[in-house]
Symmetry: C2
Subunit: 285 residues, 2 copies
């Protein structure tokens, strides 16, 4: 995420239309970012691992390209099926109103700064553990559980020890996440195609126990983790993959904000002490 934040900030300086903040230029900048971000993620990951860089494949779709850049997969039947599910996942993650990263992009954009500044803000905001990283944490949990036979006991023990189970509930969606059923169906299909039902079955048990014990339903991140595990996307890249999708929502919000702009400059209400004695700096303890 640091590489991506820095990379997008640099791209703001090298963009062929840097300095042109018109809606038309911003639409073109957005399309370029959609293309550039998967390459940035792949290059950063591969440079860090010391393995050869991959090139974009102009004959592949966006999702097929992304799958290739993340995993090296291409062409075979499984890769086609995986890319289809990845495409669905990207569509489901594309936009979700005023989440914190989108809101920070809008606050930044409200000074009529450039699009890349606003997207840089969004990426730095998404990096925080209260926003990004949920599907990565779900996948980590499935790996820790290890097999469907161990899942029921794992959840009961976790609940007993007040451990938080990831992938359930949502700050805004209090009555279930409509996106979950869609990715769940695709995760089931992909499990069949890959002949690997382990992750899906672990997930199904965790879901059932959580419904019975806590009345909670899975959110989008939950079965997405099953799909990404099947695709063998490196877990540390799940949040960067989210950026490959949400970049579309962020850019649309920035363009919308600037087309009906009002500077976001809230007032603060001071609630501290009303008067304190001034203490010269060399007498402070």
């Amino acid at each position: 995420m640091d590489m991506l934040r820095t990379g997008v900030s640099i791209l703001g300086m090298t963009d062929p239309e840097a300095g042109d903040n018109s809606p038309d230029a911003n639409t073109r900048k957005s399309i370029r970012l959609v293309a550039q971000i998967p390459l940035l993620i792949s290059a950063a990951d591969r440079l860090a691992s010391g393995i050869p860089l991959l090139r974009r494949q102009p004959d592949l779709s966006f999702a097929e390209n992304l799958l290739h850049l993340l995993t090296g997969r291409k062409e075979d039947t499984r890769a086609k099926a995986m890319a289809r599910v990845l495409d669905v996942s990207l569509t489901l993650y594309a936009e979700h109103e005023f989440n914190a990263s989108t809101f920070s992009a809008r606050v930044t954009a409200s000074t009529m700064t450039d699009l890349h500044s606003a997207i840089t803000s969004a990426i730095g905001t998404l990096k925080g553990p209260l926003h990004g990283g949920a599907n990565e944490a779900v996948a980590q949990m499935f790996v820790e559980i290890g097999s469907p036979a161990k899942a029921e006991r794992w959840v009961h023990e976790s609940l007993a020890s007040k451990r938080r189970i990831m992938g359930f509930g949502h700050r805004v969606l209090k009555h279930g996440d409509a996106r979950s059923a869609i990715i769940q169906r695709h995760a089931a299909d992909l499990s069949r195609i890959c002949g690997d039902h382990r992750w899906y079955e672990i997930a199904a048990v965790v879901e059932q126990v959580m419904r019975e014990e806590k009345g909670l339903y899975p959110n989008l991140d939950f079965y997405t983790a099953v799909a990404y595990l099947l695709m063998t996307i490196p877990r540390t890249l799940y949040t960067p993959v989210f950026v490959c999708s949400r970049i579309t929502g962020w850019c649309a919000h920035v363009i919308e904000q600037q087309s009906h702009n009002r500077l976001m400059r809230p007032r603060a209400l001071y609630t501290g002490p009303s008067k304190k004695e001034y203490v010269p700096i060399d007498r402070r303890t």
Copy 2:
């Protein structure tokens, strides 16, 4: 500002305590940023101009160092006087509650992301013309006016042609800016010490006409421009110099936000059409 945004983003990756987001580590990161930002600004400006880089001067104060890095000045009596006024200006600019850049730093910090992400957001937000650049625009105006004798007529003509006069009024400070009188006094002193009264006299005429014609009072940016012109700080660096000051306020806000955190995730109220027909992409016009 692009270089500064990118530079701080990179410093987030190389900071010796990257990964430690505790309040103590964030205080140390903040102090490092206060030291690093003047060097970043100076290096970016000098690299762009192809002139030799300057080093920090450990025997000088923060403001003396900054003046040296921005202008090459050092040691002589004038430089001492200039650094004193620069110090006052940095103090006056250090904090101003929930302006847009501070607010974006707080929104970013509210996901419990790292300090450098929040500061990167703030810099990208400040870059926008509705936030940064006011004192630069004031200086530009003084240069355009050129001499005190031309000032009165220039303001009357500008008002008649509905041209906006920079450095007056404030989104929040509706009844005058208490900081203005302080920097005005120092700008007057510095004009005497430098034996150059041109900028101060132009400013005084513009201020008087605006008070008489529009009932408006100058804000902090107005006489700051006089002081910075006397210091011969390159005009394109006025907003980066603001960062050298406001970095303290931003960092304090980030640390405060994270010590009593609540995720900033507002709701959006959809006011668009209630239902639209789905049009397949190849049939859209």
